[in-house]
Symmetry: C2
Subunit: 679 residues, 2 copies
DNA sequence: CCCATTCGCACCTACGTGACAAAA
DNA sequence: TGTTTTGTCACGTAGGTGCGAATG
């Protein structure tokens, strides 16, 4: 666990920030995945769990808190000292051991989400940032009242497909474009006590989506015409600096996935938005000759969210949580029902010795049925058509995650456990006929898996693997030993921790390996060194005592980039494939499986990035260039999405786009810190 | 320094909070003034400085951070354990010793402030809360780039007078009504690094003023028709929990004082607001037959703020700092100029042994002239008329603070040092003739006193004393040994710290003294125990790891109240008198005096509240009853404003109103925790 | 009657919506 | 050419202004 290779490494990615409107702009902050054993003096951490832990932290990187303001692109050596001081302080912060909790999470406005999901949810992304609608809002229960928690959400690719809306239906239109770094959005109220979190719904409506790869606000950057899966995370920690070392409990609500668009494709979605989003009231058919387009599209559907979520539900757990709401109209139907998602629990220090049977490979089921209302649920047209995909691009067969996601809302009712899920995944097409009957079961059934499970690394890897070679879900044995596909800036790094823990060499050693093989994307602004963005405190991070030492001044740029890229890849990979598949299967099935996962096993003294873990080469095989250790000019590998099985042509295309990005990065890297990459 | 009497005491005051609109509601949070020696293991703290330190912390109490949400009125014993854990963590947080900084603070939009000040600034207070205009905004320089700072502001009574607007001028209309507890408003970005703070202006526009004594939002409660003085504080601390033990550097901009009103009295002020506040554009004379009233009042004055402060100045240090601004119109004249205020620096651990000569009684002058622009400055009509006061109410002569404030913007040009100021204060009327010539000098000259000076307790006491018997300002010898007039809920208390530091007995000992004598006002919601208000993290406190143990369950109520009341009084006393007087004098004088103040000396083992410090009896003499040690039924003294020299009739009136409030408090105290006091 | 306060209102800023046309 | 993206717009919500009548 003191293995210098990966005991504590991290990279700071940084988005230069210039808020033209300092109001509610989130800014990226990245925490370290560093995991010194000394951080848990009272815990008998073993090498393996620790390594897993560290990895997990890294995977959950790219922490992103809402904030605003701007910063300076200066390097400040003194920061190192300050960071060191803070680290000492952090070190002494004892974790809330012995805290007992059993979080249950319910998705708010599930009916609304379901309505969208059935049609194939679309989320508009704009340069200036666009909110999600419906707003991502969850109700949390089962937390320890007094313990402190950090709640986060992120949005990861649901598959590695690009879509197009053709003939009134979504279909696969090729391989996914490279993903920009996805940032963890830390709920601005974090950390807060369980009691506080449970007091009211937790909303993430401040998170904004954008297609502007140069975004300086810290918005979540998505690719248009790609499918994404929002995720919710609960971390018991009283300090954001501890995030990287903490256990992430991740919850995925399959009905919240969506395709990012720059303009709505499906008129029904448009109408649904208009009917339910208070801000779009101007487009509702008020009898007065209002808007054109969208005629009778609007089913007499419940225009519910508008009224329910608004003031009806009371205060919510976010500063401006009530912004979208408000509407004096009577609420036509209850919409407060919620959903219980699949829960991916990445334990860390809890699993020290696998002394707890829970952490082994037994399957302990303990699920909680969500409140979910028996609302009217129709078949979801949101099936990017496996059929079309299959016939159009048979060569994409291996991309099971894509296929899987395409049947997300209906198939796999029979799945009762990972094995079954696995078996079913083998023949996605066969499951098609069963869609119809799935509808009925779909709606109200909600499953929450409990018990220790490894998420971050494990989960992500599983996701990645499933996309790559259809590994069975949640099989720890399978997951262990597979390569972690990192993605830029998902890697969390507390610069202070990094700079003061003498881990520069770790990064170096990482870079010496095939660290870059999987991290192909340019972190754009994320890896830009500079002073800590301003106003972090307002929205959280700064208040956590995180100082932003000029990362670039502490380490050679190549290392910074590579670490960030490698670590980040782990969480932004086509994760939705497995995740959504499993959760959907579970959701559809009437059973309540209690899935249990063991932590991802990582060889204690091998670099996660460089070690010859099975699958690493695999994932890299189709991408081409592998950067030489420490070499600046080495072009990074194809990137997280680089499926080894993808056609050569697509791989080349992807590689090219990645290289474009990387070249920008490298150019930036060679110039003064704090500059944005051109274009 | 381990003196149980006041080595570490604190009381938690708490405002039950129910945000109907969870958006931007600040919520009160109170930190401990506890000062255990163990908190500064590396510092050779001596009893006296420590005691002074603790007192100062208490004086700066009533910390108030913007936040929202609601809470529960439950007591949770477990909180104690959690608090203890946090305390341990806090204890290990080493202060940034050896940090060198020399903060300079400039008031933004000084010209605008000056325009208002000349007319006699009025601020509307409403039940729902009203922002200040001009917004209180400062630019900070000279901070240590890497050190963490907490920035705060509060608004204290400028004198103990009530005013009325008669014959187009403000005049004293009697003695001030009792003040509600004033809360420290912690800038939501706190803590942040000096670099971050210096990056852009720090705005406090989120602070709202109200006249609703039952306010649950944490707004600053003011008395209508009373004069107030905003203050700005810089504290070098990386954790809000440390606030009570930290050195406050306080800056007062005399031109920012104002009279709270429920409706504008001076039409010129109205017009100035309309001309400069973007939100009041609807009332501007746009040629179109717009608003009535206010005809040609609007001089062709520079309608500047509107354009300048808006987007022109870039992002500012607050989440919604840009909210009021914005205006596409070209900016007619530069308005970014700033002012350097008087600085009151309360050192704490810096003054351990008075080893530093700075802390002694030498006068080291080191001022910085503000950028201030030579804008057009006319005579300020804002002179609540000493004349009228004198003739109308000659019996008020002794209320020099009132008188002083009445000539704030013009008199005392000759003052070069405290002594001179003192002498001048003796004959306020004599200074009248010199007003005219003062105008010219007034505007641009700005002075910032540097070097160690005791603020919190010392300053406040000085203010109080000056109001009571015209003690010379900043004379530490004079200040020492005087009573501290406390005010409820200005006392800061971190419940966790309190409960886990075994200081209950300290409070008890305090209560045994005449602690209640000066704390007459009911803390209303402030003293209400309960769980920690939600969403603290969003706007800061919760993120600081502050848990809110049910204070009431940890200590008997009487102690809670008394400590809070006693400590709070220190900062809400008529502080503006001396402060504004001095600063104004300094401001007006062409000289640049380098004032130096030694820390307020407090007898190590005597209760600040009960010790027979000179002036204690004095202040109490006119108010009647003095509570017996430990006696609950003892009626508190007249309160912070109770000038011993005030006419009996007024004293009685004030006493009555205070007693009304106190009775409510005591009732609350005897009942279940978490309840608000009636009425 | 005077004064202070309160309330609803019109009018503004700020910004969240989708429509639409133009651009890429 | 077809699709996708961008910018502007009207129209909503949310809430910050002072006004002026009503209230006490």
């Amino acid at each position: 666990m003191r293995d210098p290779v990966f005991t504590g490494t991290g990279a700071m990615a940084y988005h230069p920030f210039h808020a033209h409107r300092p109001a509610d702009f989130p800014v990226s902050a990245f925490l370290a995945a560093a995991q010194p054993a000394s951080f848990f003096p009272s815990l008998g951490l073993l090498p393996k769990p620790l390594a897993e832990h560290a990895l997990s932290g890294a995977a959950e990187a790219g922490l992103h808190a809402a904030l605003h303001g701007h910063h300076h692109h200066h390097s400040h050596p003194q920061q190192q000292a300050a960071a060191a001081a803070h680290l000492r302080a952090l070190k002494s912060l004892e974790p809330d051991e012995e805290v007992e909790d059993d979080p249950k999470v319910n998705l708010e406005a599930k009916e609304l989400w379901d309505q969208f999901h059935k049609l194939g949810t679309e989320m508009v992304i704009t340069k200036s940032g666009r909110r999600m609608f419906p707003p991502y809002k969850v109700r949390v229960n089962g937390l320890d009242k007094k313990a402190k928690y950090i709640l986060l959400m992120d949005i990861v690719a649901a598959d590695d497909c690009r879509y197009k809306f053709h003939n009134s239906r979504w279909m696969v239109a090729g391989k996914a474009d490279p993903e920009m770094p996805k940032r963890m959005y830390i709920h601005p109220d974090s950390p807060a006590t369980g009691e506080q979190w449970m007091a009211k719904p937790v909303t993430f409506h401040k998170l904004k989506l954008t297609n502007n790869i140069s975004d300086k606000h810290g918005f979540t950057i998505l690719n248009s015409m790609h499918k994404y899966q929002p995720r919710f995370h609960i971390v018991r920690a009283n300090d954001i600096l501890k995030l990287p070392y903490s256990t992430f409990r991740t919850y995925v609500f399959p009905e919240t996935d969506f395709i990012a668009v720059t303009a709505y494709q499906n008129d029904k979605i448009t109408q649904l938005k208009i009917d339910n989003n208070p801000f779009a009231k101007g487009f509702r058919d008020t009898g007065n000759g209002r808007r054109e387009k969208r005629k009778q599209l609007s089913l007499p559907a419940l225009r519910v969210y508008d009224e329910a979520c608004a003031k009806g539900d009371g205060a919510e757990s976010d500063a401006s949580s009530c912004e979208p709401p408000s509407s004096r109209e009577p609420l036509h139907s209850p919409l407060g029902s919620a959903t219980s998602p699949l829960k991916f629990n990445r334990s860390s220090r809890d699993e020290k010795n696998s002394t707890e049977s829970d952490q082994e490979f037994e399957h302990q089921e303990q699920m909680s049925v969500g409140v979910s209302s028996p609302g009217p649920q129709a078949a979801s047209p949101f099936k990017p058509s496996i059929e079309e995909k299959v016939k159009d691009k048979p060569e994409l067969d291996k991309k099971e995650d894509c296929e899987d996601s395409s049947r997300e809302s209906d198939s796999a009712f029979s799945i009762r456990n990972p094995e079954k899920d696995k078996s079913e995944r083998g023949n996605p097409k066969e499951s098609e006929p069963s869609r119809k009957e799935g509808k009925e079961r779909f709606t109200p059934l909600l499953i929450q898996t409990e018990g220790p499970s490894s998420f971050s690394a494990n989960h992500l890897q599983s996701l990645a693997l499933s996309g790559l070679h259809g590994q069975p879900l949640f099989n720890p044995l399978t997951a262990a030993g597979h390569p972690l596909l990192f993605h830029p800036s998902q890697f969390a790094m507390a610069p202070g921790a990094f700079s003061t823990m003498g881990m520069g060499h770790l990064l170096a050693s990482m870079s010496g390996a095939s660290a870059l093989e999987n991290g192909g994307l340019s972190p754009q602004g994320t890896a830009t060194p500079g002073s800590f963005p301003f106003h972090l405190s307002q929205h959280m991070l700064a208040s956590q005592g995180i100082s932003m030492p000029p990362f670039g001044s502490l380490l050679p740029y190549p290392y910074t980039y590579m670490a960030a890229a490698a670590a980040a890849a782990a969480s932004s990979l086509p994760a939705g494939g497995v995740a959504s598949c499993l959760s959907r299967n579970a959701l559809l099935s009437g059973s309540r499986p209690r899935l249990r996962f063991s932590p991802y096993q990582i060889p204690p003294s091998s670099s996660l990035l460089s070690a010859g873990l099975p699958g690493a080469d695999h994932a890299d095989s189709g991408s081409g260039s592998s950067s030489k250790p420490g070499s600046r000019e080495g072009s990074p590998a194809p990137g997280p999405h680089g499926s080894p099985h993808a056609p050569a042509k697509e791989a080349v295309n992807e590689l090219q786009s990645i290289q474009r990005l990387v070249s920008g990065l490298e150019k930036q890297r060679d110039e003064s810190p704090g500059r944005e990459s051109p274009k």
